[in-house]
Amino acid sequence: MTSPAAQMIGLRKIFKKTLALDGLSLTFPRGRLIGFLGPNGAGKTTTFRILLGLARPNAGTASLLGVDTSNNLQSVIGRVGAMVEGPALYDTLSGRDNLVVAQRSRGDGGDIVGTLDLIGLAERADDKVSGYSKGMKQRLALGMALLNDPELLLLDEPMDGLDPAGQKTLRELLRRLVDDGKTVVVSSHVLADIQALADYVVIINRGRLVAEGSVAELIGTDKTRIGVDSSESDEALTALAQAGITASTRGERIYAETLDARAAGRALADAGVYPFELIVEKRGLEQVFLELTEADR
């Protein structure tokens, strides 16, 4: 059986008096584009840092590509590319020299010219990084993570600082990497990015796992919101049930678990109930995220 791309069991991390990870256990499956979500301070960066051996957990274990990172990290780190806590670069060097430093530190290998083309910095490769825009720095940091053609990419907020065109290019690049069999984990609190990008989502809050699954599983079924007079709500629920539509009352509204608003409306009309409102509500990752993280407070 193939080991997961990354796995954490019972991770606990305390910074002075702050509990950053509270027994976090989760798995990043292989070959997926994974959105790693959580509010600010949820523990996303700490999780990445522990996976990469930059921080030590107070308890628990972590593994990358099936290798225990606590005692064997070096044997696997060459198969991982990472960008953690923003683009940290050697500002006094050129973009090309930054890649040279990364290449030599990894023991050579990697195509610098190809990487510069890939990240769109070939023309500015010999300029000092201190003169780069935020987006260019972000792309260079990404290039340094991609240089060794890693099996697993861990990217912390990679969309930060990118303009819409840059975001689109990055999305396409990451999707292509996953199509080539790599695993990409992208942490972000910009949920629209993740919904557009990821096919698997892991949500953490306050250092604990809140939910994980495919985007479709987490978002679930879209619902039709129906507004009827409160005196008619029982008849409405009965009519919908007879039409085979699951429905429930929430506040002054009825929520029918169907996208077929026409069928719901017909069932109600047949029963003599005429709604004053009938709206198909598309659920998004943001709504799911807020429901899950607020429920966890």
Partner: protein, 253 residues
């Protein structure tokens, strides 16, 4: 390890810092040496002279002491580069390429010692050239003596690079590391005057390793003989590097 050393070499040599430090070091030591020799020449035969003018070999040793005494060179070079990596976040990034922290420190230590020693050797060459022109008398150093001098310069640089590396790993901020490590070097010189401390004093060892000679004759300090001085330098280097490695390995990056 070779790859890491090459990476460190790129980082150090592709920025201006080492060149600037070399210029300042050459200027300070060159001007100081020239001033001392010219002053000794002017005061010769007057009552103002505390000591007789140095012979040429004495002047060479003095010039070398002046060059090697620039302990601020390794301190500033190392702390700005290494502590700067902590402050700018490139230290954790480099650990995502090769996770062995001891090897990273080892590569930094080797490259920064080499660059620092090169700066001091350039300074020594310039101060010796000035001495050849300005000092009275005759004679020059043999090839063997020059080799020993290079070895001694390396020993001094190794010690101060080790201490600056410890300061960088400990304070993780270039400004703090530069200030406190330079502060330590000054405080250490003063402590070197105390009988209880002078035998293990780094600054006394730096003076001692080049042989006892003091042009000014003003400060009657303890100067260990070269073997004792070498042992003190080796002891400080080992201690500083051991503590630096322990801190770097145990603390979160």
């Amino acid at each position: 390890m070779t790859g890491l050393i090459r990476a460190e070499w790129t980082k150090v040599t592709r920025r201006k810092l080492a060149w600037i430090l070399a210029l300042v070091s050459v200027a300070l030591s060159g001007i100081g040496t020239a001033f001392t020799l010219i002053l000794a020449d002017i005061l010769e035969g007057t009552d103002e002279l505390v000591l007789p003018p140095p012979t040429k070999p004495e002047a060479y040793v003095s010039a070398l002491q002046s060059a090697a005494g620039n302990t601020w060179v390794p301190i500033i070079l190392v702390t700005i580069i290494v502590a700067g990596e902590y402050a700018k976040g490139t230290w954790p990034v480099s650990l995502t390429w090769d996770s062995r922290r001891t090897r990273h420190l080892g590569a930094k230590f080797i490259v920064l010692t080499a660059v620092s020693a090169a700066i001091i050797l350039i300074t020594a060459v310039v101060t010796l050239a000035i001495t050849v022109v300005l000092a009275e008398g005759s004679g020059f150093l043999t090839f063997g003596e020059i080799s020993v001098i290079i070895g001694k310069v390396l020993l001094v640089q190794v010690a101060w690079v080790g201490i600056a590396l410890l300061g960088s790993v400990l304070f993780r901020s270039a400004a703090l590391a530069v200030g406190l490590t330079l502060g330590f070097s000054f405080a250490e010189q003063i402590l070197g005057l105390l009988p209880i401390y002078r035998r293990i004093s780094l600054s006394n060892a730096v003076t001692g390793i080049f042989g006892q000679f003091d042009l000014t004759g003003i400060v009657p300090i303890y100067v260990p003989d070269p073997p004792a001085a070498a042992a003190v330098l080796a002891g400080w280097t080992t201690l500083a590097l051991t503590v630096a490695v322990l801190i770097a390995v145990r603390r979160d990056a």
